[in-house]
């Protein structure tokens, strides 16, 4: 990136904050509807000091991690089964597509009934959000494997578990990563949505607290935190993983 472009970016962000501050100082809208960046910053600062912010982040991230891990493992297993066993695809496969089109928050009411107001319930919603994206991409990935790869591996004696771990999964890996990326995005939506509805710790809960206290600066500060976590996870984890795999496959 050129200096010029970094400069532009900094100028732009400074400009946004400045315009925001000016707009809110102008009192066109009441502070309760349109807080100033100073208010938002203060809210973040207090949250950081009294620990609520860190506890909230930690709770949400642990739920995301747990849900995503289950979804990734389950999604890969289900996707491979669908791709390799015709009957599974013709039966479960058709529901997976349907389930994928259910917004993850829509699972929250059911999760509350089935799991109560527990971490398990929120993790269930996260899994419901992430699972099918991983499944569908794994399925596509395994289906797109050059059949010669599989034939060659079988010819060299690979079967069963070895075929899965040494050929199917690595061969479908570029697709798996797409699935992970989509899955994490949906899972993250699931965590926040479930926390909003369960109102049981986490960033979504803090957002809800802001809402219930009509505290817009808390709402905005939590949105900023959620956004930054999103950018960091996407950029640091998934983007890197993708770049690495793409480089190894010679696609970049």
């Amino acid at each position: 990136m050129k200096i010029n472009s970094i400069g532009k970016k900094i100028a732009f962000y400074v400009g946004i904050v400045a315009v925001w501050q000016i707009l809110s100082s102008a009192n066109i809208w009441p502070n309760s509807v349109f807080p100033s960046p100073y208010d938002v910053g203060q809210d973040l600062w207090f949250g950081a000091i009294d620990g609520t912010l860190w506890i909230g982040i930690g709770t949400s991230l642990w739920r995301l991690a747990a849900g995503f891990t289950i979804a990734a493992i389950g999604g890969i297993a289900l996707g491979i089964l669908m791709a390799r066993v015709k009957t599974v695809n013709e039966t479960i496969g058709s529901i997976v597509l349907g389930l994928q089109s259910i917004p993850s928050v829509a699972w929250a009411p059911l999760a509350i009934v089935w799991f109560g107001l527990t971490d398990a319930g929120i993790i269930f919603v996260t899994v419901a959000g992430a699972l099918f994206a991983v499944t569908i991409n794994t399925y596509t990935g395994v289906k797109s494997i050059n059949p010669d790869f599989i034939a060659a591996a079988q010819n060299m004696g690979a079967k069963g578990e070895q075929l899965v771990t040494k050929v199917l999964i690595p061969a479908a890996f570029p697709y798996l990563i797409t699935g992970f990326k989509q899955g994490w995005a949906f899972g993250w939506r699931g965590v926040i949505g479930a926390e909003l509805l369960f109102s049981f710790l986490g960033l979504g809960f803090l957002l809800n607290v802001g809402r219930q206290l009509s505290d817009v600066s808390q709402v905005i500060s939590m949105m900023l935190v959620i956004m930054i976590i999103g950018i960091v996870i996407d950029g640091l984890i998934f983007k890197r993983l993708e770049d690495k795999v793409m480089a190894r496959w010679g696609l970049r």
Partner: protein, 313 residues
């Protein structure tokens, strides 16, 4: 939208709790309609104080019956400009109910427990959190070991039945339902913790600009409000059956008369405004961090109409 508030109408929100018998009876007995004449009355049932405040802020409602804690919160958040208090409506009617087998007999037993209260910033929520702090406990989101669930009363009922929570700080009739239907133990009534065994639980509040624009409508509403209070105090039995009918229509569920009766007897209906207790709620909310960190002032909480009201003591 501005055109909504110019119309000849009043939009009122309240809860399906029995402590909201005033608006329920006032509508059922036609007091509001009689007073307001051709002014249209639109009512909406909400679940919680925060929702009521949200409706006022969003200009989706003009008047609301809500607890003092959400009122104070909304008042401070709007810089003392958005909403005003018009009248009292009910006192008392909240209890701390514990699971019979939870072993909770004193405050220190609450460590590590799961407790429900309706919605953050709601009157019971403020009382519960204040109670915990005073007894040296802290909620989980602040790093403590008491988990507080802020959820609707109906859901509290459900998860209490499933024993997913150890205790609940809830208004009537939920409190009595937990006791009578689910074998919960009423550890204390909230009024036991207050001086004079009395605290405001429902107040009538309104949007400041609506009150200013329609002093006549507000004045008439206050008259009908008092009529309803008087009638309730004179006809407790009929009030109970009106409430049962209302509850059935609104939620589709039938309440047992004895529950309604027990709940009802825990509540005092009055238009008094207990300024001192409202200040206490404000102090508690502030120390919980609900009102920001930059101080607050309650100098201007009364509407002009309320000050002029003949029922103001």
């Amino acid at each position: 939208s501005p055109s909504e508030s110019d119309k000849n109408q009043v939009r009122v929100v309240f809860f399906a709790n029995i402590s909201h018998a005033v608006p329920i009876v006032g509508i059922e007995n036609g007091y509001f309609a009689d007073q307001l004449g051709d002014t249209q009355i639109k009512t909406r049932i909400v679940d919680s104080g925060p929702e009521a405040i949200e409706a006022l802020f969003a200009n989706s409602a003009d008047l609301a019956y809500a607890g003092p804690a959400p009122f104070v919160n909304g008042y401070v958040k709007s810089g003392g400009q958005g909403i005003k208090i018009l009248s009292g409506a009910a006192f008392n009617g909240a209890s701390f109910v514990v699971q019979p087998d939870s072993g909770i007999v004193q405050p220190s037993d609450l460590a590590g427990k799961k407790i429900a209260a309706p919605f953050v910033g709601n009157t019971q929520d403020v009382s519960l959190r204040n109670y915990l702090t005073q007894n040296g406990l802290q909620s989980a989101e602040k790093g403590g070991n008491v988990i507080i669930y802020n959820i609707a009363n109906a859901e509290i009922n459900t998860i209490f039945a499933k024993k997913e929570i150890d205790a609940a700080w809830v208004p009537e009739p939920t409190a009595t339902m937990l006791v009578d239907n689910l074998g919960g133990k009423r550890l204390f009534q909230e009024q036991d913790l207050w001086p004079n065994k009395k605290f405001p639980s429902v107040v009538l509040i309104g949007r400041a600009d609506y009150i200013q624009k329609h002093p006549d409508i507000v004045q008439k509403w206050l008259v009908a409000n008092q009529q309803a209070i008087n009638w309730i105090n004179q006809n407790p039995d009929q009030t109970e059956s009106i409430y049962i009918k209302f509850y059935k229509i609104h939620t589709g569920k039938t309440l047992k008369p004895n529950i309604v009766h027990d709940s009802f007897s825990n509540i005092v209906y009055s238009s008094d405004i207990d300024a001192k207790s409202i200040k206490i709620f404000a102090e508690r909310a502030y120390s919980l961090g609900y009102l920001g960190r930059n101080g607050y002032n309650l100098d201007d909480i009364y509407a002009k109409a309320a000050e002029a009201s003949p029922w103001q003591n």
